[in-house]
Symmetry: C2
Subunit: 472 residues, 2 copies
């Protein structure tokens, strides 16, 4: 099989300029978006429409900047070699930082839109000014405090701080190549603003107990500090799990896009049910965070999909995972969120033997490129010393269950085993494949599993809980 990278019509990756068609399309998209935003100032602000338009600008902005900044990143040493190609040329790395900066700017500028109605109602510039001033003028300030959704604003701001923190630390990680056991906690540090503002402004730490457990635990369970530990764990898990499901072109961005799109579908479900659902506000918040995320991620995807013209860097994985964690935590649907992370959870659990050094762990565990066939094959770790008997027994069992492939020498000792990642396992199951084919199959599986998760959640949840989730 021949690698057909030349059959795709890309501009030469050395050129940092946008082609004429690209310029024209991005300009039209931006202009259309600006026009839509300008129009939302009439009526009641239409924040969802504005958010969609802002996402268009986010796409156009990051698409252009990723292209323009390529050479600058290379010059600053932010570059890497793509090991899974015949010609291993260097391409820009850490491009997720561009996405993160554009994203943060866009969600910041968007802040006034969801609060437009409240601003108009509470200040003298607005539509129902007369009602306020004539009837209850003397308690206007009190009314203003009641009306203005301050804790929504604080939630929104803490989300931005958290995403910013993880981006700063992610850039540090990409610059300094921090060790695995340290970088694991980076998202934890970045989640501190989220937990602190949650503590100060909301402080809701009880959960609804599933019906079968109510005789023992009551209707509501006060978790207290454990609730914070749970949020902390979610914030650490989401970014890291995306970071370790990596190794073939485009898989980091694509898996994030799949999760984001499934979350958006879930949000739309709440907006479209016939009665106004009590959790509508949470899911609007989720949409405001996710739509621009999809915008910047699509722009990165165009440059990062096979054959990659840029790498995303750890910054992108942290940034993406933290957006999901923030949305799940502040929207109070972190259990649903985890349903969409099933492939990542599996990959994390499957990776655990190597992450915790029960099995030797090389620096890179991604599938191996076979230059002769042009296909990706599962990568292996050689055992310098044969494993302990109990480990050997488990590995051989996994081999027999087709969950691993081990090679033994003439004495029956294990000399090598495939690396413990879902990508390698997929290659064990279905044999060598071209890089993009492998990515597509994993993504289709992820989308299917996620859809099933959402289906299960909306159809079977009422077996466990007496009502769908309430807005807290």
């Amino acid at each position: 099989m021949v690698i057909r990278s030349t059959t795709m019509t890309h501009p030469p990756s050395s050129a940092a300029a946008l082609s004429f068609t690209e310029t024209l399309s991005l300009l039209s998209l931006s202009l259309a978006s600006f026009a839509v935003i300008a129009n939302t100032f009439q009526g009641d602000g239409a924040p969802l429409v504005a958010s969609l338009a802002f996402s268009g600008i986010a796409f156009a902005g990051s698409y252009s900047m990723i292209r323009w900044l390529g050479p600058t990143f290379m010059k600053a040493g932010l570059k890497g070699k793509d090991m899974s190609k015949l010609h291993k040329k260097e391409i820009p790395e850490t491009m997720g930082a561009v996405c993160a900066v554009v994203y943060i700017l866009i969600v910041t500028v968007f802040i006034p839109f969801p609060f437009y109605k409240d601003i108009v109602a509470a200040t003298s510039g607005g539509g129902n000014r007369d009602v306020v001033q004539e009837t209850i003028e003397h308690v206007q300030r009190g009314r203003f405090l009641h009306k203005f959704p301050h804790s929504k604003l604080a939630a929104y701001l803490s989300a931005i701080i958290t995403v910013q923190s993880v981006s700063i630390l992610g850039i540090g990680d990409d610059l300094f190549d921090i060790r695995w056991r340290h970088k694991f906690f980076i998202p934890g540090i970045a989640s501190i603003p989220l937990l602190i503002v949650y503590f100060v402004d909301f402080g809701v730490t009880h959960i609804v107990v599933p019906i079968p457990l109510r005789p023992y635990l009551g209707e509501l369970l006060q978790l207290g500090v454990f609730y914070y530990l749970y949020m902390f764990a979610v914030a650490i898990f989401c970014p890291n799990s995306i970071n370790i499901l990596a190794g073939v072109n485009g898989i980091e961005v694509s898996q994030s896009l799949v999760i984001a799109i499934l979350l958006v579908l879930n949000d739309c479900y709440y907006l479209l049910v016939p009665y106004p659902h009590p959790a509508v506000d949470s899911h609007l918040f989720s949409l405001y965070m996710l739509l621009p995320f999809i915008g910047v991620s699509l722009a990165l995807w165009c440059h990062n999909w096979y054959p990659s013209k840029v790498f995303v860097g750890d910054t992108y994985c942290y940034f993406a995972g933290m957006v999901f964690a923030v949305v799940g935590i502040l929207g109070h649907f972190s259990k649903t969120l985890l349903l969409l992370f099933i492939p990542q959870i599996f990959n994390f659990l499957y990776s655990a033997p190597q992450l915790f050094r029960i099995v030797p762990c090389p620096r890179h565990r991604m599938p191996r490129f076979n230059a002769r066939t042009g296909l990706m094959e599962c990568s292996v770790t050689e055992w310098q010393y044969p494993p302990k008997p109990v480990v050997a027994k488990v590995l051989k069992l996994l081999h027999r269950l087709n969950l691993l492939r081990v090679e033994t020498n003439s004495q029956g000792q294990i000399v090598e085993s495939t690396n413990f990642t879902i990508l390698n396992l997929w290659l064990v199951w279905f044999g060598p494949k071209r890089e993009d084919r492998l990515a597509i199959e994993i993504l289709v599986m992820q989308f299917a599993v996620g859809l099933f998760g959402l289906f299960a959640r909306h159809n079977f949840a009422l077996l466990l809980f007496e009502s769908d989730n309430l807005n807290v």
Copy 2:
């Protein structure tokens, strides 16, 4: 004169380890700080005491990390040569990023402290729970909304977002060496969160008119969009003005420390006046932001003062300037703030002919090191072509006023002029000096001018306004 850098007892700058004495001192400081913080949980939270203790931790944290991360920064290419030394060895650069990250973490973790009283009052965990629950239990939620100072929290969060934004963009600037005409607007972009939250949550855009102007303008003047332009200008000016008053070891951090200390003195004035001043809250906010800033800056100062063992990078200048801008804008004392920037304002105006290319501007305008004497001398720019007659006339007038030094050739044409910075002007006035001596003299001048500014503000302001500033 001999350069006596060896008479100062520093650990060898290649060693990234802390000395035993340093470890012991920093550990004691940290432990003492933690003890103080733990104690503030009793009583009503004592946020000011906690803030002091957090600043101690900020100092210890950044001091250690600046030392430890030196080799890591060098390896990542973040390094620079000190041109004003006999042995021009390379030292780590961009260490301001460490300060910014530690600062952001500290001010984030500090958030619950100023709100401790409100949290206790509003939740069931606190002291006066009975009062709330027994008397007006049914309106508890309304009371909570009234009581909890949400807009203080939003202000605090927007301050953090802004400082974070300018730090991310500053790191980008240090990595990519952005052009002067682009980097000038970096703080402007970073100030967007501040302006947006100000717009959404406060929206106060009127100013008190000075008494002499009241017959024409009225008592309050509604500035509207111009108020935002003014805040935008302050946010652009403060970071950039610190960034261009640079060029000798330690001057960026030292001038920031002088400004911070003067601002703290000003804040204390409001806390110590016999009657509770209406602006107390603003100045408490200012202290909460400035004390940890002084902590991280002192730690950087220890490494950056003559002879420098690390450079601060543009990141520090942006970070420092933005902390001041945020404090001044959200505390509503930006006019007082600008009084403390008089040397920087002078330097900016004096630099204008070079910044706007009326006079040729070399890449570096810092004073020149004379290797023979070991002293700093004013640096000059050579005129490849003689200046236009009108420019020549102005330059010669400045020369006669002792505000510049020009060299002319036999035909009376200007062939070189000193660079337009306050440091060079000081050397024109007082002759060559050793690097640290020059820095100290500039700092003493800055402190004296600042003190006089504060004195004038508190004694003469009542000639222009009928009352001291009110809490808006």
